[in-house]
């Protein structure tokens, strides 16, 4: 890990540590899911004498149409069809442990052992989200502790930077030059910000108004660009969902259309926003932060638009007659959870393939071209610069896709673990062989906190999606563990009422006022104590 910071700066090291954190997080989540959902499911399938259909069956007559689900299990298929199915999650992959539709609503009972699979499925998904949240917050806490200890040092920053900035243990010409460049850049940035600040204070009223209106206009332009991208995604998703059943390579293209549009938008729109930012004349650090926020907004909300489009198709927001019978669009989506899972799977896979393709088709040839031919063009283009923020956003986007899809595609965390693992080593190879260090270094102490905040934002979006699916949409009646319920969440109250009366009374008591108000007061007291302790230690450090 130390080789990264020595050659490329602290920001790159933070990026690779963040990537490693994501690999570990995904692997642990996969173990969780495997232990509670996958392995019991495999066991129950193979020993089918133990299975009993769950209680509370909504067996209203006239709904037989809703229970029709045939995932096209053909006998002999053309060989390349397997490959197409692998890429789009249909065919042999659709009715497998990969997707929601394969799991049964079994409640296994045998000599004192009771295992309710639907309940386990739901609770594992909920706990998976909570587990990820705890991991992120713990990681953020330890990073914050380091950041506070080294201090932000706003006062006296120039003299500190100049007198204590040099690391005398730095050896080798390359490391020395890198350090010199980064000090140079840091000083330039700080001096320029100070100059801009002084200039903005000295502007006349007319000039200030002009600058503000220019900035507002450019902000609207960039928002319009982002809105255009969203509209494109909406149209692409609607069109792609209507093309289900198309054959061959063209069919694959239609199926991947939303992913293609999202990825194109993620390349084109930030590039155009960067060109706009040149006219906005903010200070350098504000420009970087604005660009990052725009990229984050674009990526996360485009995923949200995709989900919204899917949901509106499934539940027919416009109250069309398609949804009257089963409360969801059963003609086009006999098993809608599997379709959503397939969409997320395709997004994750496409993201991975594009990254690998970029490495092989763009970065390696670029390096070969620049190293072996020297003309004005190659000197202008130069080697690839390893920019940390776009790479981090790519990883956060991938992780958000996994979180959104984990409820519908339980094996997605495993796929993501493998994907990030391979990506770690590929990026390491490309970093050392193809890239030159970025001149504009990203501060390493605050950067990992920023990455985790963006990751939390992605988590929030996935959480909203999950809550909406659990609580609002009618589960498919033809497949999956929740096929007999009106709402996925209702398994919990149903099971709750089967517990013994004393347990029910105890849990009701814990929720009532007589318990929760003293608990709240106690937590406030503990919080005040901890805050007072923290203040004492902080003051001690200042006096030292």
């Amino acid at each position: 890990m130390a080789t990264f910071s020595g050659h490329f700066g602290g920001g790159v090291q933070s990026y690779f540590m963040f990537l490693r954190f994501l690999v570990v997080l995904n692997f642990l989540s996969f173990l969780l899911i495997a232990g509670f959902i996958l392995i019991p499911s495999i066991v129950f399938r193979s020993t089918s004498n133990m299975t009993v259909d769950s209680t509370g069956c909504v067996c209203v007559s006239g709904l037989e149409e809703c229970r029709v689900y045939d995932p096209n299990l053909q006998g002999l298929v053309v060989f390349y069809q397997y490959f197409l199915d692998l890429l789009s999650g249909t065919g042999f992959m659709e009715y497998s442990y990969m997707f929601y539709g394969y799991y049964n609503n079994t409640v296994a009972e045998s000599s004192g052992f009771h295992y309710n699979l639907p309940l386990a499925y739901l609770l594992t998904s909920v706990f998976y989200f909570a587990f990820c949240l705890i991991c992120i917050i713990t990681r953020m806490g330890s990073a914050l502790r380091i950041a506070v200890a080294t201090g932000s040092g706003a006062a006296g920053s120039y003299s500190k930077m100049v007198f204590t900035g040099w690391d005398f243990g730095c050896q080798g010409d390359r490391a020395t030059q890198l350090k010199q460049k980064s000090i140079h850049y840091q000083l330039q940035v700080d001096l320029e910000e100070e100059r801009l600040q002084k200039k903005s204070l000295s502007l006349t009223l007319g000039q200030t108004v002009g600058l503000c209106s220019l900035r507002i206009f450019l902000m609207l332009v960039s928002l319009a660009l982002i809105g255009g991208a969203f509209f494109g995604i909406f149209k692409a998703t609607v069109f792609s969902q209507a093309q289900v059943g198309a054959e061959g390579i063209l069919g694959l293209f239609w199926v991947y259309l939303p992913s293609i549009v999202i990825t194109t938008g993620n390349f084109v729109v930030p590039f155009m926003c960067d060109q706009i930012a040149l006219f906005e004349r903010y200070s350098p650090s504000t420009t970087i932060i604005m660009a990052l926020f725009r990229s984050v907004f674009l990526r996360m909300i485009s995923l949200g638009v995709l989900l919204f489009t899917l949901w509106s198709q499934i539940t027919c927001f416009k109250d069309s007659p398609k949804c009257e019978l089963c409360q969801y669009n059963n003609k086009e989506y006999p098993c809608w959870e599997t379709r959503v899972g397939q969409e997320m799977y395709k997004l994750a896979l496409f993201d991975f393939l594009i990254t690998i393709a970029m490495l092989i088709l763009v970065e390696f040839p670029r390096r070969l071209f620049v190293d072996h031919y020297s003309c004005a063009l190659t000197r202008w283009v130069g080697r690839q610069e390893f920019l940390v923020p776009p790479n981090v956003l790519g990883q956060v986007y991938g992780q958000t896709v996994v979180w959104t899809g984990a409820l519908f595609c339980p094996l997605l965390p495993l796929i993501n673990t493998l994907k990030f693992f391979i990506l770690f080593y590929c990026k390491k190879v490309t970093l050392f062989s193809n890239c030159r260090p970025a001149v504009k270094t990203f501060r390493s102490t605050t950067s990992i906190i920023f990455f985790l905040v963006v990751l939390l934002f992605g988590w929030g979006i996935a959480l909203v999606a999950m809550i909406y699916s659990l609580a609002q949409i009618h589960p498919s009646m033809s497949c999956g563990p929740f096929r007999s319920l009106t709402m996925m969440w209702s398994i919990v109250p149903n099971t709750f009422y089967t517990l013994s009366l004393t347990t029910q009374d105890f849990i009701f008591y814990m929720g009532s006022q007589a318990f929760s108000i003293p608990l709240f007061i106690f937590s406030c007291v503990v919080l005040c104590y901890v805050a007072a302790l923290a203040a004492v230690y902080f003051d001690r450090r200042k006096w030292k």
Binding site: A155, W166, Q177
Partner: protein, 189 residues
């Protein structure tokens, strides 16, 4: 000469250990590295001096932008040519060692940054210091305007008695507010 040229006498070793911040192993290693820098004739004279160019060939100092100043500060030569005896070399390693105190390090840092050796850091010293930090080539220097702005900011922040220069106590005041100075002012063989 044999493989271990002139071994350090045990009484000298313990004397050096008492006078510096270095451990026994560090002193023995320093002796070995210093002997490698000596030319054949110099090995037999009692207190050999290594010329500055040879000292600057050490990998730990070769790319350091302050290498010449470090040699000048620790040299006890009458001719002010930056050459070091073994005891000067030990002084150098002691000041840059892990166990040296903040006062020792800040004292020597001040002397290294004082390019004209007049006991204070004035504008000229600060300019040379910044140029060492950013690199000496033309495209890595700050512009004249930026340099002027930077030096006036530094003096505004650290010059408490407003005499236009930074003296040792003002310098040490700035250093004391920075927690990683001790770990960055370190050279280990």
């Amino acid at each position: 000469m044999g493989t271990t040229a002139s071994q350090l006498r045990k009484d000298l070793l313990s004397e050096y250990q008492e006078l510096t911040f270095l451990t026994k192993q560090e002193i023995i290693l320093a002796h070995k590295r210093f002997s490698e820098l000596l030319s054949k004739e110099d090995r037999n004279i009692p207190t050999p001096r290594v010329p500055m160019e040879k000292v600057l060939s050490l990998p730990e100092l070769k790319s350091n932008p302050f290498r010449k100043r470090i040699c000048h500060v620790f040299s006890t030569s009458d001719m002010k040519d930056g050459s070091l005896t073994f005891e000067d070399f030990l002084d150098l390693l002691s000041a840059f060692s892990d166990s040296a105190t903040l006062e020792i390090k800040s004292h020597y840092a001040f002397r290294i940054f004082d390019f004209d050796d007049d006991g204070t850091l004035d504008g000229g010293d600060l300019e040379k210091l910044v140029n060492c930090l950013t690199g000496e080539t033309d495209d890595t220097r700050l512009t004249t305007e930026e340099m002027r702005q930077l030096i006036s900011n530094i003096l505004e922040e650290s010059d408490i008695d407003k005499d236009g220069t930074v003296n040792l106590s003002e310098f040490q005041h700035v250093i004391s507010r920075s927690p990683d100075f001790v770990s960055s002012f370190k050279i280990v063989l």
